[in-house]
Symmetry: C2
Subunit: 204 residues, 2 copies
Amino acid sequence: MQFASESVEILIEQFSKLPTIGRKSARRLAAHVLKMPKKEVSQLATALLEVKERVRACSVCRNITDTEICIICSSSKRAVDMVCVVQDPEDILALERTGEYRGTYHVLGGVISPLDGVGPDDLNIRSLLERIGKPDSEISEIILAISPTVEGDTTAFYLAQLLEPFGIKITRLARGIPVGLTLTYADEATLSRAIAGRDVMSEP
Amino acid sequence: MQFASESVEILIEQFSKLPTIGRKSARRLAAHVLKMPKKEVSQLATALLEVKERVRACSVCRNITDTEICIICSSSKRAVDMVCVVQDPEDILALERTGEYRGTYHVLGGVISPLDGVGPDDLNIRSLLERIGKPDSEISEIILAISPTVEGDTTAFYLAQLLEPFGIKITRLARGIPVGLTLTYADEATLSRAIAGRDVMSEP
């Protein structure tokens, strides 16, 4: 049995496509939408469309942004000699919450994972090499802040080898992070310790 | 710290207004939307807008519908001598799942609750009286399928008194339903028993 309204059923269908939202939650959300003022529903719909319309990758670090260059890369308060390499934009949020790091970032957009068909060419590695290789580059340290999973470690070692010829310091987050845990879900204290105790992978 | 994209932050804000979705879930949903194909996002946005645009109350029973009269009221297979009075459209779904009931419905749109400022005039009671009072009405029984909470019981007793002058049978669901539970979350078996064992509140 379904609701006697096709449009409500379509909305339930759409909601249940989202992660962590099952059939029952989708029905509850749809029932809530029915009670919401029309204006609020249209704000939600607009927000969804705006995200797809406006969000793009920062031309420097590939972080998500609404502008050509993201607020971190365009900030004069950030140290330009350090680049912290992360998997996803969400990881930047996690690191920023520690208040421990004042450098810039570079978003890979994933990790090397042969099983999922993700190779080095699918990641934002070329743009990272270009950043470091620029004649006016002030980068003196690359921090590999990649989740310590099997794929993450593979990616970190691959990058460490690739970056060695540049003769700059390459570090990775200290193993304060519980191994196997995705970076996004690490707590502030653990992440703070991991940044402070980062270990050297290559030094000029 | 926020995402370096204002439109993503707005979407997170909008998501977290929905029930059962906290800040963390909202962030995860927004991250998912970023990865979704544009077409799917626009389907979700359209579904939201369509619901507010198309859904209305059935002119007979006040159930939600996209048409003037809902599919239950317009079906020739439903018994027109029985009307089951429920709180919300969701309760119709729960009752239909039992496969036990073949009559029609009437949606009150809530229960009498002085604390929330809901009085009898805020509910679809007048339209129920009009249905029963019509010269060509074939209604011989009203089943009050209202959640057995304090407010629900108050509403049931209020309706039973109000409907007594019509000289028709008035029943309510048997107390098979665990007292205090909202009708929507009752399991099929309990609801089936409750319909079969409904007790008479007034008889002509």
